[in-house]
């Protein structure tokens, strides 16, 4: 683990911008970077929902009626989806080298994919079992999935772009606060 992480500091010096535009990163992203960005983004996403919802008074009525075990399960599912996508995404793009347009395209696309996978997971995990034991009809669930999928894709793409901006900002700041060896004074 240590060797892989340390290798991030050693970027291929001669790599041209044109190559970086089209090729996947040569240096694999350290697993700790993937873990940090995916967990940070998931936590910030939930906080971005909870903070304004509570401040507007909407959450106080909803919270007592939520099923705790279900909430934990949904959060874990979201966490796994974001971690998997982030790991795959950082194998395709290099935030330090690639153009903003390329990053935005991939970030938005992965966000849309996350939104769809999250929604379909909820439909399959909650909707189908509910249809089997209650009067809820399968057609209603299929209709919900059909209407919800494009909405989830759009919302996911927007969230993906916002997450990209946050990630680029923290990477930029991290680059400036990282301790570096003093330059040779000879």
């Amino acid at each position: 683990m240590g060797e892989t992480e340390a290798s991030e500091a050693i970027q291929p010096a001669g790599e041209s911008a044109a190559t970086a535009e089209t090729a996947a990163p040569e240096t694999p992203t350290p697993p700790l970077t993937v873990w940090t960005l995916s967990t940070g983004n998931t936590v910030l996403f939930v906080l971005a929902l909870v903070l304004p919802s509570y401040a507007s008074g909407g959450l106080s009525d909803v919270l007592p009626n939520l099923n705790t075990a279900l909430g934990v399960g949904i959060f874990l599912y979201l966490w796994i989806v974001v971690w998997t996508t982030t790991r795959w995404l950082l194998g395709q793009v290099d935030p330090d080298e690639d153009s903003l347009a390329r990053l935005a395209l991939w970030g938005g696309a992965c966000g849309a994919f996350d939104g769809i996978v999250f929604l379909l997971g909820i439909v399959l995990g909650l909707g189908l079992p509910a249809a089997l034991v209650t009067s809820l009809q399968l057609l209603s669930i299929a209709l919900f999935a059909a209407i919800g999928t494009p909405i989830a894709a759009v919302v996911g793409a927007v969230v993906g772009l916002v997450a990209l901006v946050v990630d680029l900002a923290v990477l930029w700041v991290a680059d400036r606060v990282t301790p570096r060896p003093r330059p040779d004074r000879r």
Partner: protein
């Protein structure tokens, strides 16, 4: 069943904070006293930090639901909003801290590394202790 679940949620929440504060304070002390391999220690803590933070968030929301949160206009609600805002700042700052730890060149001088670790983990410990105080006030008034 419900009582047991809520007890488990509260226990996880407390244990999660113990990992966060104890780990940050441990790395900070190790940096101040030059104990062991601080780079490995810091990286190990960062893995645990993000796992514990995810657990803290989900158990925190679970606690809110189980205990029944008063409205945002109350003093309690204002304090909760302050706590959640501090958590947001901590998450952003911690992303910076972890990424800086990952990017640290192993040839950097021990003094510079110790200074960075002291500042980063000292600030993290202080922010986490502030959150503990806010949580205490929210729980016990």
């Amino acid at each position: 069943m419900s009582q047991s679940l809520h007890l488990a949620i509260r226990t996880l929440h407390v244990l999660g904070m113990a990992v966060l504060v104890g780990g940050a304070a441990g790395v900070w002390i190790a940096a101040r006293r030059s104990i062991g391999d601080r780079t490995d220690l810091a990286r190990s803590y960062e893995w645990a930090f993000w796992a514990a933070l995810g657990v803290m968030l989900v158990t925190g929301i679970g606690n809110l639901g189980a205990l029944g949160a008063p409205g945002p206009a109350t003093d309690w609600g204002q304090l909760l909003l302050a706590k959640l805002s501090l958590v947001t700042v901590l998450v952003l700052a911690s992303m910076v801290r972890t990424l800086a730890v990952v990017r640290t060149d192993e040839t950097v001088s021990p003094t510079r590394l110790a200074t960075f670790h002291e500042r980063a983990y000292g600030l993290t410990t202080l922010a986490l202790l502030a959150l503990v105080v806010l949580a205490e006030v929210l729980a016990h008034g």
